[in-house]
């Protein structure tokens, strides 16, 4: 979600554009915070099973890093495909 959605709203009076823009900002902030929490939960669930130690082990830390990177890359790819579909682009099977 980004301000490119505002391209459709060029015909609105300025005050309405500002209001829509601020609405999008708020949604973006809320979405980022939600993504943060859900990513932590996911990588914790997938990578941490053992509570013999209070500190994260090296293996767990590596796992969490990979988990987070992988999910973010995945999320970017989904975003690209989603945008294509929204524009009605046909894709190969």
């Amino acid at each position: 979600m980004d301000k490119s959605m505002l391209g459709d709203l060029d015909n609105l009076p300025e005050e309405d554009k500002i209001r829509m823009s601020s609405m999008i900002d708020q949604l973006q902030i809320r979405d980022s915070l939600r993504m943060y929490n859900s990513l932590v939960e996911r990588c914790f669930n997938d990578c941490v099973d053992n509570f013999k130690h209070k500190s994260l082990q090296k293996q767990e830390e590596t796992c969490v890093q990979r988990c987070a990177e992988k999910f973010l890359k995945h999320s970017m790819r989904v975003g690209m495909r989603f945008a294509e579909l929204n524009q009605g682009a046909a894709t190969q099977d």
Partner: protein, 85 residues
Amino acid sequence: MAANNNPPSGLDKEQIFGMAEKEMEYRVELFNKLTHTCFNKCVEKRYKESELNMGENSCIDRCVSKYWQVTNLIGQLLGSGRPPM
């Protein structure tokens, strides 16, 4: 939107903004659910590396495409006005 020169009444405008906000929230939620669902279906949890391999990439593309088709199908079913069985 209005064909005449009268500005929309205060109530109409609020309703329109309300609907626009709901629409945007819906899209965000759709994207988030789509992302989580396809990650669960396509990416192995062992995290051997931080890159997505070719198989995962293909799976993701197809998963997004199918999820989108299901979204449209359900949308049609709900929109047709028929009561669900």
